[in-house]
């Protein structure tokens, strides 16, 4: 670990980019917003390159000895790094139109998502609770700022306060859980439980208690029931690019932590695994049903996406609950689900962010006859929503297919049928928007949709990805194989 290693690791690159933006903002004000954003995207791209850089610290591990490793870049970490970095590039790209619309958004609006990503990447590679906690706090605190960013709007402030209160509470439970963990295992390592278990074998109450508390903390990040209460209001109130990042990045952070905690380090601990699987299964079922039912009567697409993101958390948890006893299908399913869910989500949020005024903040009344007013925008929404609904041949189906298969293989038939019911509800509320766009006639004098080049590029890229991956899932197989192969 030398100087070169440190400065070529993605975390440091992102951090430096963010700091440079903040410094330059106060010193040199003549740079345009556009240039600042390009610089931020450039930083993220550089970090993306650093993930593959042979001499960078990104590929090594950091620890005081071979037993005590704080940070390690294994396949899983690499996968989530790429996921976070690609997501943040799209989010930063999305802020362009947003900044034109809301001049209050200063340049730090480009810097803070980079900091959030630093936290996410740290969590993805962390092997020790201290680092996990630091990473998670970086994520959460930067989201506090981002969610309440439009401080002149009541809805944004409301969202900020709700996110802050529930977020602080969840941090509390997480720390409490970590404390129990440390008390039981005498170690802050994520895989410490394995050593304790091999000595003892019995499952102490404190381990279960700590697992439950940690689950509560992570459940908040993923917006899983019963830690979901913030999601709909925050999704609607927060600036749309931030909502997009919450729906994708924040969820994936919770997923990577759960995978590390219970499945990669917990393999072989049958008793704990089956209990944790059951708890996760119950959380999944509750998230699926509540999210699905609550989304049915909504009349605002952002709110629908808020509730449906709860059901997506449910589907991800469904996959996680199915991968006990060394079954890898559930784990594969979760990774596939994320890879197909995130692009669909970004696609819809991109449209909602770029055409926030034209679409009246996602109110259903603004979607009438969109198929005639702007065929390309309507097509993008169609692809995004139909993919999220999990209808073949779009990518979203592959995710649902894998998750449902894993659940069936694990023998949790009740979870399969809850997933089935939720998927049918999803058809209903996602198709609601599709109906308005294609069946209704446009109103006279509606707003016109100006298609910028970057919008066309994003729509083209993401919808091509969703269409092709559904008909040709082979890359997903390669990806899963690459992630789960022990290096």
């Amino acid at each position: 670990m030398n100087f070169m290693h440190i400065f070529s690791s993605p975390e440091v690159i992102l951090l430096l980019t963010a700091v440079l933006i903040l410094v330059f903002e106060s010193v040199l004000t003549k740079f345009s917003d556009h240039a600042v954003r390009m610089f931020a995207i450039f930083g993220a791209l550089l970090a993306l390159g650093a993930c593959f850089c042979p001499w960078s610290g990104a590929l090594g591990s950091i620890g005081s000895s071979t037993d005590l490793i704080f940070y390690e870049a294994d396949g899983l970490a690499q996968f989530f790094r790429l996921l976070f970095l690609i997501t943040v590039i799209f989010v930063l790209w999305m802020t362009g139109d947003y900044q034109k619309r809301f001049p209050v958004a200063g340049r730090e609006f480009c810097a803070i998502p980079l900091l959030t990503t630093v936290g996410m990447i740290l969590v993805a590679s962390a092997k020790d609770w201290t680092l996990v906690f630091v990473g998670l706090e970086i994520v959460t605190i930067s989201f506090y700022v981002l969610v309440a960013y439009q401080r002149n709007l009541a809805s944004s402030l409301e969202a900020g306060v709700k996110y802050l209160i529930i977020g602080a509470l969840s941090t509390g439970t997480l720390v409490y859980g970590i404390a129990f963990w440390f008390g039981t295992t005498q170690s802050t390592q994520l895989d410490a439980l394995a050593f304790v278990m091999s000595d003892d074998g019995a499952l102490s109450t404190s381990v279960l208690l700590s697992a439950a508390l940690i689950l509560a903390g992570v459940g908040f990040k993923m917006a899983a029931v019963p830690f979901h209460a913030w999601a709909p209001d925050v999704y609607q109130g927060a600036p749309t690019p931030v909502t997009a990042y919450l729906a994708t990045g924040s969820k994936a952070v919770g997923v990577v932590l759960l995978i590390r905690l219970f499945y990669l380090t917990g393999l072989g601990m049958q008793e704990l695994e089956s209990q944790v699987s059951l708890i996760i299964g119950i959380l999944a079922a509750a998230s699926l049903l509540l999210g699905g039912l609550a989304a049915l009567p909504q009349f605002n697409l952002k709110r629908v996406l808020g509730y449906s993101s709860i059901t997506h958390a449910g589907f991800i948890l469904l996959g996680l609950s199915a991968c006990w006893q060394g079954r890898e299908l559930g784990l594969e399913a979760v990774l596939i689900y994320l890879v197909v869910y995130i692009p669909a989500s970004i696609l819809v949020f991109w449209i909602l962010s770029t055409y926030a005024d034209e679409l009246d903040g996602g109110e259903y009344s603004a979607f009438h006859g969109l198929g005639k007013r702007s065929p390309l925008v309507a097509f993008a929404i169609l692809i995004g929503l139909v993919s999220m609904a999990g209808i073949p041949p779009l990518g979203g189906f592959i995710g649902k297919f894998a998750v449902m298969a894993a659940v069936w293989e694990a023998g949790s038939y009740w979870l399969f049928f809850i997933g089935l019911a939720t998927a049918v509800m999803g058809i209903y509320y996602y198709l609601q928007v599709v109906k308005l766009m294609y069946w209704n006639e446009p109103e006279e004098g509606g707003p016109t949709f100006h298609l910028s080049i970057s919008t066309k590029v994003v729509i083209g890229l993401l919808s091509a990805f969703l269409l092709l991956i559904g008909l040709w899932p082979k890359p997903l197989e390669w990806m899963v194989g690459w992630v789960l192969t022990p290096s």
């Binding site: 209808i391 297919f401 298969a405 198709l431 069946w439 040709w472 899932p473």
Partner: protein, 486 residues
């Protein structure tokens, strides 16, 4: 030769892409449908009925998933799906030619592209579902057709179109997801190491208990798609309220997917499961024939009558399946073709009458036979085929199914379902009488005959098919002879 099947499958998709980039919609769609039809005809001529296994198999290696469910993208034909692929391309061409006048009118120039894109996607889905040799792709292709059907039905349909379209989407999606459960159950019940999604590699190795557990999920899942009683309520209103070409494709072709799936999975791999559930499903299929048949008699509108009638005939197909005899299964294949052709013909012509008269209520129609003789003649051929008149395709299928069921010892079920022929004669003849005979009503007076050749061709194609298969059923049966060993 083997790439030809892939070309037939890809041509609708190519046309969709072309239309999306501004090619003339109607011409592109027509070319795609013609390519598919000629291609499948060439394949049918070159098909070797004596060979066993699948022919013209094309595997696309890069599409295969080896570690994940052993999914292979492969297309191929045998005696079961060759008739269906042929049916798809024939009905597909007819549906693309039979454009309702509202859609082809001048003020709808812009909407035409979307209409043909969706219609071609339905065709693509149906072709793919029948041609695929892998469960995963079979399932995906069937679902491809869902959203286009939904969009077309809700936009171009009639009556309570939005309700019907939403009901159809929710119902079919539920059915598909239950079917997904059935597919998982099927897959994971196979012994370790033999689990595969590839139809060519499957073997009948499941033990009887597992078979009985898997079968109901498959039958209910596929059954919802085929409108098996009591899961049929989506079908009549959906077909009645959708534009005629969509009803032609969906009722004529796509609905056969459920029967086809059972023929592919349940019959060869779950024989003991079929046997243990025969009683339960015989009751359901009798309800299809008798109860739905009586409901059909009660209908007061031609489109709903045809919708219910197409549900009713599904009962015969299930009877043939559960007979598990070679002769009954051949009958199923034959009746699928006959029913596909006759239903498409009837729905298409009913659409023509609705376009011209503005209504399909029996009380407002009458005397069409004098006003529009050709239209009436074609419709009556379709109606006779649907009743099961000898000489038309449906008859040979139904009779073989009855033979099969009798041979299997399902005497009571056979006897009661023969009553269905009487029921269908009652409602069809009444429909024919009140629409085509009697006094000419003012609404009927607005109906012109099919004067232009472009109006006549789609229905003539279907009628020729009906007569050809009816007179010489061996045309289709010879392909599946070696398959069931009869």
């Amino acid at each position: 030769m083997s790439e030809l099947l892939l070309i037939c499958l890809a041509s609708p998709l190519a046309a969709v892409t072309a239309i999306a980039f501004g090619a003339p919609a109607r011409k592109s769609a027509l070319i795609a449908a013609l390519v598919s039809l000629i291609g499948t005809l060439v394949l049918a001529i070159n098909f070797d009925p004596t060979a066993s296994g699948y022919q013209f198999v094309t595997e696309t290696e890069p599409l295969a998933l080896d570690s994940f469910f052993n999914i292979q993208f492969a297309v191929g034909l045998d005696g079961i799906n060759l008739p269906l692929v042929l049916l798809t391309s024939v009905v597909g061409l007819a549906a693309i030619l039979a454009v309702p006048s509202r859609i082809s009118s001048e003020e709808n120039q812009a909407g035409e592209g979307g209409y043909f894109i969706n219609l071609l996607l339905i065709l693509f889905g149906a072709m793919g579902a029948f041609a695929s040799l892998d469960l995963f792709y079979l399932y995906i292709f069937h679902e491809v057709a869902l959203i286009p059907t939904f969009l077309l039905m809700g936009y171009w349909g009639n009556g309570d179109k939005r309700f019907s379209a939403t009901q159809l989407a929710l119902y079919l999606m539920t059915g598909s997801l239950i079917l997904l459960g059935g597919i998982f159950a099927f897959y994971f019940s196979m012994p370790e190491g033999m689990q595969t999604m590839d139809l060519r590699e499957m073997e009948a190795v499941m033990d009887g208990k597992a078979q009985s557990a898997v079968l109901p999920l498959l039958v209910v899942g596929f059954g919802i798609l085929v409108s098996l009683f009591p899961f049929h309520s989506w079908a009549p209103s959906a077909y009645a309220n959708s534009p005629a070409p969509v009803a032609m494709l969906h009722a004529g072709v796509l609905k056969k997917f459920g029967i086809y799936g059972l023929l592919r999975l349940a019959v060869p791999f779950l024989p003991e499961g079929m046997e243990s559930w025969t009683n339960v499903f015989c009751v359901l299929l009798l309800m299809n024939v008798l109860y739905v048949g009586l409901v059909t008699i009660h209908q007061k509108k031609l489109d709903f009558l045809l919708g219910y009638s197409s549900v009713m005939h599904m009962g015969y197909l299930f009877l043939g399946l559960f007979s598990m005899k070679a002769i009954g299964l051949s009958g199923v294949i034959l009746l699928m073709v006959g029913h596909g052709l006759s239903t498409a013909l009837l729905f298409g012509l009913a659409g023509e009458i609705r376009d011209r008269a503005g209504t399909l209520e029996f009380s407002k129609l009458g005397g069409l036979a004098t006003k529009a003789p050709l239209l009436s003649f074609l419709f009556i051929i379709g109606a006779m085929a649907s009743i099961g008149l000898p000489g038309l395709a449906n008859f040979s299928g139904e009779i073989l199914i009855y033979f099969g069921a009798w041979e299997a010892g399902l005497y009571w079920v056979t006897a009661m379902s023969v009553l269905g022929i009487v029921i269908s004669a009652v409602y069809m003849l009444r429909a024919v009488r009140s629409v085509f005979y009697g006094e000419l009503s003012p609404e009927s007076g607005r109906v012109n005959d099919l004067v232009q050749w472009k109006e006549r061709i789609p229905y003539l194609i279907l009628v020729v098919g009906l007569i050809l298969v009816g007179i010489y059923p061996k045309l289709i049966l010879k392909w599946s002879e070696t398959l069931f060993g009869a």
